[in-house]
């Protein structure tokens, strides 16, 4: 009886997770031949959060995100995005993704890039036009709308790439290092926009190398050697490790895992 009750409870909990959790993974795993890139990661990211992923290069952040957006097939475990198993088909247009390498067409203009993505997401012409206008203002490229991307500076390209990921107003957006090469002034603008997204109930999941950015996230996940070694609000993480900055907190967590 007790066992049956517990099972029922678990089922209820899982059902509740499905509705509140935007990302839910259990023992998610990706192996490339002999390399374990993502090692049994359990993630639960609630709706409306700013979730930051930190960790050194090669710790599995990008691989994890690629699995979550359906570009890589996991070799183990399972993952639910917006309540659907990946690789996702039904809700793929509710997800936005900005890869690390920018990946927009440098031989097209900013507008043509945005239009391409809008078409692929089957947006109506009117909603595209309003979205485009708003986004171009936020990324400060309104006057470069018809410039070829190859004529833009690195930071501008990054901003254009971000706009492509957001053009269809996704519910959850995965940003792989969105602020690399973006100057401090504009980064402030980005963060205002991320806060605005959160206020509208959107979920932003990003990787970052800047600790001051990680501090602004609601929840930080620490990745190392494919494992999630710590997760929590930045303040909690520092308290738990008795440190005053996230870098030290990461080091302490890493040592604990090694021991």
């Amino acid at each position: 009886m007790a066992g049956a009750n517990r099972e029922a409870e678990e089922r209820n909990a899982e059902a509740a997770d499905r509705t509140s959790a935007v990302v839910l993974t259990s023992k998610l795993r990706k192996e490339f031949e002999s390399l374990v890139a993502v090692d049994d990661v359990d993630l639960k990211i609630r709706r409306g959060l700013l979730y930051g992923m930190i960790g050194p290069n090669g710790s599995g952040k990008t691989t994890l995100i690629k699995m979550l957006v359906g570009l890589l097939r996991p070799t183990g475990g399972k993952a639910l995005i917006l309540g659907e198993r990946i690789p996702i088909a039904e809700n793929i247009s509710r997800i936005g993704y900005m890869p690390q390498e920018m990946a927009i067409y440098t031989d097209l203009t900013v507008h043509e890039n945005l239009e391409l993505f809008a078409e692929l997401y089957s947006m109506s012409k009117e909603s595209f036009e309003t979205r485009e206008k708003g986004l171009l203002k936020i990324i400060d490229l309104a006057d470069r709308r018809d410039s070829l991307v190859s004529h833009l500076s690195g930071g501008m390209r990054h901003r254009a790439s971000l706009a492509c990921a957001l053009i269809h107003d996704p519910e959850v957006v995965f940003l792989d290092e969105p602020t690399v090469g973006v100057d401090p002034e504009l980064r402030v603008g980005f963060w205002k926009y991320f806060a605005d997204l959160r206020a509208r109930g959107k979920t932003v999941i990003m990787t970052t190398h800047y600790m001051d950015e990680a501090l602004r996230c609601d929840v930080v996940g620490m990745m190392r050697l494919g494992r999630l070694i710590g997760e929590g609000a930045p303040k909690d993480l520092m308290e738990r490790t008795a440190t005053t900055d996230l870098e030290s907190a990461f080091m302490t967590m890493a040592r604990k895992v090694d021991a």
Partner: protein
């Protein structure tokens, strides 16, 4: 399959081109350059065409019209008479020997005057008969340029001997083609150049664009949107097929306006063949792009693809001229079927029903390449 997304992918590819004026210039200039080079190279006069002359004319040498014509031919170097036969050789059947030499491509033609040649010609002059004396020319028509030069040379020799320039000469030249159509060389090679140009352009543009998409991550990014593998492949095929088509229109206009090429069959059918072939080539480029990590590596595929097509697909010489050992290669090179179809439509004036086999092979080529492309994308996940 969603048409809107397919069109979005196609439009993206065409927009990229629009911003790249140099490439568009290349698209237009390359076929013009090719057709001009080939047109002028092969359009010039030819010299030292190897022939046999068989003169069985019984009339004594100093009165023989045949002998006079032969002597006239020898004053110029268009024809090079490598061997002559006289009436005394009649027993050895020199005509048959000459035919064999033409068939084995050792000589271009055998020129034959029969026993009664001078008498026949004289009977026309005296009004006894309207039937002219015939000079039989057994020739290899593989290269229409050479065949035409032989014909012109014979005609001018006859006219210079008889001193007439009217059409009603008592002597007629009767060509017997061993190989080849009765076509000018430019008519013969224009379909080949069209197929070749379409192949080079669609293949080059497509492989460059796909390698760039792979290395820049845009292909992967597209796959993170609702667009499917099949839609990406279909959209690209549409775009590059259209590019090949646009280029073919340039070639056809050049060929017709500048070089007076005749297109006897339907130009729409010509374009359809090019479109199908272009789609297949971009599929091949898509597949090979997964093997190249940089644009530089992609360029290295070009000679591998280009040379078998250039040499073995019947662009410049007929498939019969391809060595036996390499014939199987000819039959797996798609350009062979494209060129054959184009030649049948443009020179023979055949319709779609007559080139069903070629169309089928090209359709199969396109379908297999597109299918494999979509599959290769799927496997990456």
């Amino acid at each position: 399959m969603n048409w809107r997304r397919i069109l979005a992918v196609a439009k993206k590819n065409l927009q990229s081109l629009r911003h790249d004026r140099r490439t568009v210039g290349f698209l237009v200039a390359m076929p013009l350059f090719m057709i001009a080079i080939f047109g002028y190279t092969f359009g010039g006069s030819v010299e030292n065409i190897k022939v046999y002359v068989v003169n069985l004319d019984q009339t004594p040498q100093d009165e023989s019209v045949a002998a006079a014509i032969i002597a006239d031919l020898q004053t110029r170097n268009t024809l090079k008479i490598v061997r002559s036969f006289g009436p005394e050789d009649a027993a050895t059947d020199p005509v048959e020997l000459g035919r064999e030499k033409v068939e084995s491509a050792e000589i271009w033609a055998t020129i034959f005057f029969n026993e009664t040649f001078t008498q026949d010609a004289m009977r026309v002059v005296s009004g006894e008969t309207g039937l002219p004396a015939f000079i039989r020319v057994i020739e290899d028509g593989t290269n229409p340029n050479i065949a035409q030069a032989i014909g012109n040379e014979m005609l001018s020799a006859v006219r210079s001997v008889l001193g007439v320039s009217s059409f009603a000469t008592p002597i007629a030249i009767s060509p017997e083609l061993v190989y080849g159509e009765d076509a000018r060389f430019i008519d013969f090679f224009a379909p080949g150049v069209m197929g070749l140009a379409a192949m080079m352009v669609t293949f080059m543009l497509a492989i460059m664009s796909f390698v760039h998409e792979r290395s820049a991550g845009t292909l992967e990014r597209l796959l993170s949107t609702p667009v499917t593998e099949g839609e990406i492949v279909a959209g690209s095929a549409l775009a590059f097929g259209l590019v090949g088509l646009g280029q073919s229109i340039v070639i056809i206009l050049t060929a017709v306006l500048l070089f007076d090429i005749q297109i006897i069959g339907s130009p729409v059918l010509v374009l359809l063949v090019i479109f199908l072939f272009g789609v297949g080539n971009q599929g091949l480029a898509f597949l090979l792009s997964s093997l190249a990590k940089t644009e530089f590596q992609a360029v290295q595929f070009l000679p591998i693809i280009l040379f078998p097509s250039l040499l073995l697909a019947g662009v410049f010489w007929p498939l019969e001229a391809v060595p036996e050992l390499l014939r199987p290669v000819s039959s797996v090179v798609p350009l062979t079927y494209c060129v054959d179809a184009l030649r049948s439509v443009m020179i023979r004036g055949w319709g779609a029903g007559d080139i069903l086999f070629d169309l089928g092979i090209l359709l199969l080529f396109a379908a297999v390449m597109l299918g494999l492309s979509a599959y290769s994308l799927r496997k990456r996940r």
